[in-house]
């Protein structure tokens, strides 16, 4: 009986596979590339924090550093806008530039400590899109 049931399920899956492949069109040889891009897009904030202490720390670090990095980028854009608009003098530009350089260096340190990269910090907010 168990064998019959397994065969029946396999037949159904084979039929489903055929139905799926009949509905796919295009550059099938690039499926892996599509899968990789879709995976990037679908990375979202975990709905629950992993209770494992090591993972919990890493997840929190990702979230906090992602938010700090977002603020840093917003401030940089604001500074560029003001610089291009001519509302900053040379001394202010130099001072702001140095501050942003140091912030970036500090972020690099934190990313190394927690084993994160830029993609990890660009958290996907689902329907709202990426953080930056």
């Amino acid at each position: 009986m168990a064998t019959l049931a397994t065969e029946s399920i396999n037949t159904e899956i084979d039929r489903a596979d055929q139905a799926a492949s009949d509905r796919v069109q295009g550059d099938i040889d690039a499926l892996d590339l599509f899968a990789a891009e879709i995976k990037k897009v679908e990375q979202t904030i975990p709905r629950r924090l992993n209770a494992d202490p090591e993972h919990l720390e890493n997840g929190l670090a990702r979230l906090v550093l992602g938010l700090i990095d977002l603020l840093r980028r917003l401030l940089e854009k604001q500074a560029i806008r003001r610089m291009e608009g001519g509302s900053l003098n040379d001394e202010e530009i130099e001072r702001l530039g140095l501050a942003f350089m140091r912030m970036e260096a500090k972020m690099e340190e934190f990313k190394t400590i927690f084993g994160l990269d830029d993609e990890d910090l660009n958290i996907n907010l689902g329907p709202l899109g990426n953080l930056w």
Binding site: I9, E12, I13, A16, A19, R23, V24, Q25, G26, D27, I28, A30, L31, L33, F34, E37, I38, K40, V41, E76, K77, A79, I80, M83, E84, G85, G86, L88, N89, D90, I93, E94, R95, L96, G97, L98, A99, F100, M101, G129
Partner: protein
């Protein structure tokens, strides 16, 4: 009454015979109608012993869910419900039909005789170094004047931002060209552009049954016109993306 696993919303006039041919549903349970005010939810009983347990998203179950919906679509307008949607009991299903009746009526009319066609397109974005640097919007005295490392840092950011903006603009223009070619075949579309660096276009089109082949032919034509792009189209599917605010999947509506 046990928990109800939802497949679709249909008109209450849909005959039980349509359900009999579409079923059985998950767990080999027969399909049932829960009718209210001219609408009906197609459901099957779900794990009486474990009403809060969500179904495993295995291939066979996902296809069973899909096959039920597609069989119902053959019999009339059908609003597909996402895989894994469970309500506590028939009373909750009726409550859903009452509170969302107006939306469901509009959606049923919108998806009738139409199917969903998906499309994703990859591109190779121009490398930032290859993008012609746009002239500055303004050239105030303080931009580009010699100074220390702080100004150099901000100047580099300005250049990088202009290049990124240029790449984004090229991508959006290209995505717009593609959509312009496909839009006439669709009654509706949901489109997202540049969700990632390489994912130029991600779209779902609501296409008349009679226009599916023409839509697919246009995609083949686009592949020839844009050989540097990679296209992946799929369908026809039930119009999952054209149903407004579906009930939450899994067991989130359990008491």
């Amino acid at each position: 009454m046990s928990a109800c696993y939802l497949y679709a919303i249909v008109r209450a006039a849909t005959p039980q015979a349509a359900l009999d041919t579409a079923g059985p549903g998950l767990l080999d349970m027969p399909l049932q109608r829960v009718a209210q005010d001219g609408l009906a939810a197609v459901v099957s009983a779900w794990h009486p012993a474990r009403p809060g347990a969500a179904p495993a998203a295995d291939e066979a179950d996902v296809w069973r869910h899909e096959q039920v919906i597609e069989a119902l679509m053959d019999r009339g307008p059908t609003l597909p419900v996402r895989f894994g949607t469970i309500l506590a009991d028939a009373a909750r299903v009726q409550e859903l039909l009452v509170t969302r009746r107006a939306d469901f009526e509009i959606d049923l009319a919108h998806v009738a005789d139409r199917v969903e066609m998906g499309l994703r397109v990859l591109w190779n974005p121009p490398t930032l170094a290859a993008v012609d640097e746009a002239p500055p919007r303004q050239a105030p005295d303080n931009v580009g004047s010699p100074a220390g490392p702080g100004r150099d840092y901000l100047d580099r950011l300005v250049t990088q931002q202009r290049r990124e903006n240029s790449v984004q603009a090229q991508g959006r223009a290209l995505a717009d060209e593609l959509n312009t070619q496909l839009r006439p075949f669709a009654a509706d579309v949901h489109i997202q552009v540049l969700q990632s660096e390489r994912l130029l276009l991600s779209a779902v089109y609501l296409v008349e049954n009679a226009s599916v082949e023409a839509f697919r032919a246009r995609i083949e034509a686009l592949r020839r016109i844009y050989p540097s792009l990679s296209f992946l189209a799929s369908g026809p599917w039930p119009a999952y993306h054209f149903v407004s605010d579906q009930p939450e999947p899994a067991n989130t509506r359990m008491p």
